[in-house]
């Protein structure tokens, strides 16, 4: 099978169209990042608190918003996950007045968010010291069960918490009758638990808070990592290729980063650590494509001394086109799988990689070689760029 037969597309003919297209994309992106909506920094970089909560039943988003407002947590973003209507991510960057000395606001606000979402009966039960079966630690549950069921407590506690923490339950036992399905948990045990515990209607899936100092720190580190990686690649290309090729490769990289970040900012997704990782990976990836084409250009320069440089570039792109499309295709396919199935935590990462793969492929075909051609026309080097 072969998708791409021997092609002879005149890519260089479209160089101005491609430049214009990229120019527009980059301009829109930069405008949006600077004077427009700006970059939506996640808590990794801006500091703040993020709580991910699963309710036992469907809860309208307005109710969540209302509960938070009542608790005085105004500066928040609520995002519904999936289509069950039960799962939410709540982000807040609020600074609150603190009564507890020496505490940073990000330390307690997570607890405030969770508390505000509990029902009245639950708050009362907790205040009275009743144990919540949906949040009790396994060791404590073992102690609780050991009294009426000596020597079986630990085993039963393990079974119950394993059941509760299984991805099918996600930390919530909806009803005591669900426990009947667990082997080795008798009606007596369930009745005992019914009497001595209650079932809260929410489960805290994750709670993350980042103080302002760390946010600043992470921002600095991310910038450093990106810059050093770029320098590293520049050095590598400098060693392996002639000057002009290095410059073309780096300009292509800058193009990829700018376009990807621009599109990213337009989607209003959150810039977090995994996204930075994705950007850095796509930098490496896009360069990979560019290098493959440049390698071919170098080969062809030795073989076909009579060719004009622009047609030589065209030939090289055409010769590697099949490979470029297939590799991009396989990479895109895997990243797309991750985007669809990987879950919320990794979604932004997968999305960024998806844009990156497309942009990286486009740019190594259209941008890197066009830049070489311009270089030749402007500087007219005697060596390394054919006729």
């Amino acid at each position: 099978m072969q998708f791409i037969k021997k092609t002879n597309i005149d890519f260089m003919k479209y160089k101005f169209v491609a430049f214009a297209f990229s120019g527009v994309l980059i301009t829109i992106g930069i405008i949006n990042m600077t004077v427009g909506k700006g970059i939506n920094y996640g808590i990794d970089f801006a500091g703040g608190t993020m709580v991910r909560i699963l309710f036992a039943n469907e809860v309208p988003i307005s109710e969540v918003r209302g509960a938070l407002r009542d608790a005085g947590i105004e500066n928040n973003k609520i995002q519904k996950l999936g289509d069950t209507g039960r799962e939410f991510i709540i982000r807040t960057m609020q600074d609150i007045e603190l009564s507890e000395q020496g505490m940073e606001s990000h330390e307690i606000i997570g607890r405030m968010v969770v508390d505000s979402l509990r029902g009245e009966d639950e708050k009362r039960a907790l205040a009275e010291g009743t144990i919540d079966l949906n949040s009790i630690a396994q060791t404590n549950l073992a102690v609780l069960l050991e009294t009426p069921f000596p020597e079986k407590g630990a085993e039963m506690a393990e079974k119950i918490t394993n059941f509760r923490n299984h991805p099918d339950q996600m930390g919530i036992i909806l009803d005591y009758s669900q426990l009947e399905t667990i082997e080795g948990i008798s009606i007596e045990v369930i009745n005992y638990l019914k009497k001595n515990t209650f079932l809260s209607h929410l489960s805290v899936l994750s709670k993350e808070s980042v103080g302002p100092q760390v946010g600043e720190d992470l921002r600095r580190k991310a910038t450093q990592a990106t810059i050093w990686a770029l320098i590293g690649m520049l050095i590598y290309i400098g060693i392996r290729f002639k000057y002009a090729y290095g410059v073309a490769a780096i300009l292509t990289l800058a193009h990829d980063v700018l376009v990807t970040l621009g599109i990213f900012s337009l989607t209003n997704r959150e810039l977090n650590l995994p996204v930075i990782a994705a950007v850095m990976t796509l930098v490496g990836y896009s360069l990979n494509d560019t290098i493959v084409i440049f390698d071919r250009v170098r080969d062809n320069l030795k073989l076909l001394r009579k060719h004009k440089f622009s047609s030589l570039l065209n030939l090289s792109i055409n010769q590697t086109l099949s490979r470029t499309i297939i590799t991009s295709g396989t990479t895109f396919l895997t990243v797309f799988t991750l985007f669809l199935l990987g879950g919320e935590v990794i979604n932004d990462f997968a999305f960024t990689m998806m844009i990156g793969v497309v942009i990286g492929t486009y740019s190594s075909i259209y941008q890197s070689c066009s830049i070489l051609l311009f270089w030749k026309e402007i500087f007219k080097p005697k060596k390394g760029m054919g006729k």
């Binding site: 690649m233 290309i237 995994p274 590799t327 935590v345």
Partner: protein, 517 residues
Amino acid sequence: MKKKLRWKIILVAAVILLATFLFYPPEEKIHLGLDLKGGMHLVLQVVTDDAVNNEADQEIIRLREQLAKENIEFLSISKSETRVGQFAVQQFDPEKEGQIRDILDDNFKNWDHSVRETSILVTIKPGIETYLRDQSVKQAQQTLSNRVDELGLTEPTIQRQGLTGERIIVELPGVEDPDRVKEILKTTALLEFRLVKGGPAETKEKLLEEHGGEVPGNMEVMKGNPTQTQGGYYLVSNVAEIVGKDLRNARRSTDEWNKPAVSFSLHPDAARRFAKMTGENIGEPLCIILDKELMEVANIGERIPPPGDTIIHGRFTDQAAEDLALVLRAGALPASIKYLEDRTIGPSLGADSIRRGLTSIIIALILILVFMGFYYKFAGFNAIAALTLNILILMGALAYFKASLTLPGIAGIILTIGMAVDANVLVFERIREELAQGKSVLSSISSGFSRAFRTILDANMTTIIAAIFLFQFGTGPIRGFAITLIIGITASMFTAVFVSRLIFDLTVSKKSKKLSI
């Protein structure tokens, strides 16, 4: 040629065996990161200013005593409000300046001093200050380790960020009770027994009436904890008779009314001191201070003989008594700490991420396998074999390096699947080109591999460079991504070039007229 092939087969077989041995069974050999296992990642800041301030406090007390001994009068000694590790002796007798400076020179060698009009400014030497700060972080790290050990948590990591940093990273997999653990780690747990000299009184003014409204030199005013004492203000000695490190065997117990309490005994030296002190002060009130807060005030009924068995009453819940005993056993923090970052992932979310991650890996793998099989036919299966081996090597290497597999790490594996076939694609496309030029099967394969190799190396190097810097600067989960990417791509150069070539060598003979590619 045949002999060379045999060695290659043995090498590949050895790699397969080694990788399998390293990572099987995966549940035991693959170390999961916090985001997959569930647990807590904390970044703490040690407020090292506290350590310097404590040192200054002690030195001020010492200086006061020495000045009193020499009958040198002064208005006050007070700490600077703007500069940590600096205090000033205010309005002393100018004639005695030399005498004071002699005392400072002789007995306060860790401090510099300078005269400003009517006061002497005493400042800690920079080297000493650095040392104190560094020590306080080291001690804090030790104390935190002790506490985590006492909590019985498995596989904790407690490490300092950088060699001279003031931050400590604590990673606790499988924590079920995050708020409690945070509370326990944060408690300074500075315990002191001091004699009470006056109070309780409702206000500070009332308390100080008999002392002419001023706090006497060797005492200080403290507020009683309203839930555990009568409340109000007390005048207490500023000398601690017993401190936390004198304690032995702190444990939760119950008092004579069967209420939760904390009981302990003392180390021999301290027990003797305690016996002497209690013997001399029968009938006097003694107080227990925890983290600058008065926990309990009680009159000394009799001399308490060694080993100084004592009980702290203070209206605890069971859990609170347990936790206090724990922190007393583990020791006090030399300085307070602040949480800078706190990420807690519940066990069910971790399990869910594993499930989603594995599903994505399997689907991605199947997609690539099907595609390669269709597109390159027989050669495609060659690539599939290489890819499978690649993942096997990747898992083996992860297990060998004890690197944590994180969710971004899983993303790295998936990306590797997509990118590793690139090396195969480069080779196969080259072979196709060579075949199209009418070369024989064997020489097409041979030149396809040799011509593609430099390109493969160049292209993969850039991704590896990016991943190395990502690893260098990244934290936990991101490092997991970088490491899988580095291993995966490096392994792909072995599998897609060496192994793939071997498979061709084994299956294609000189007589082959056609190659299924």
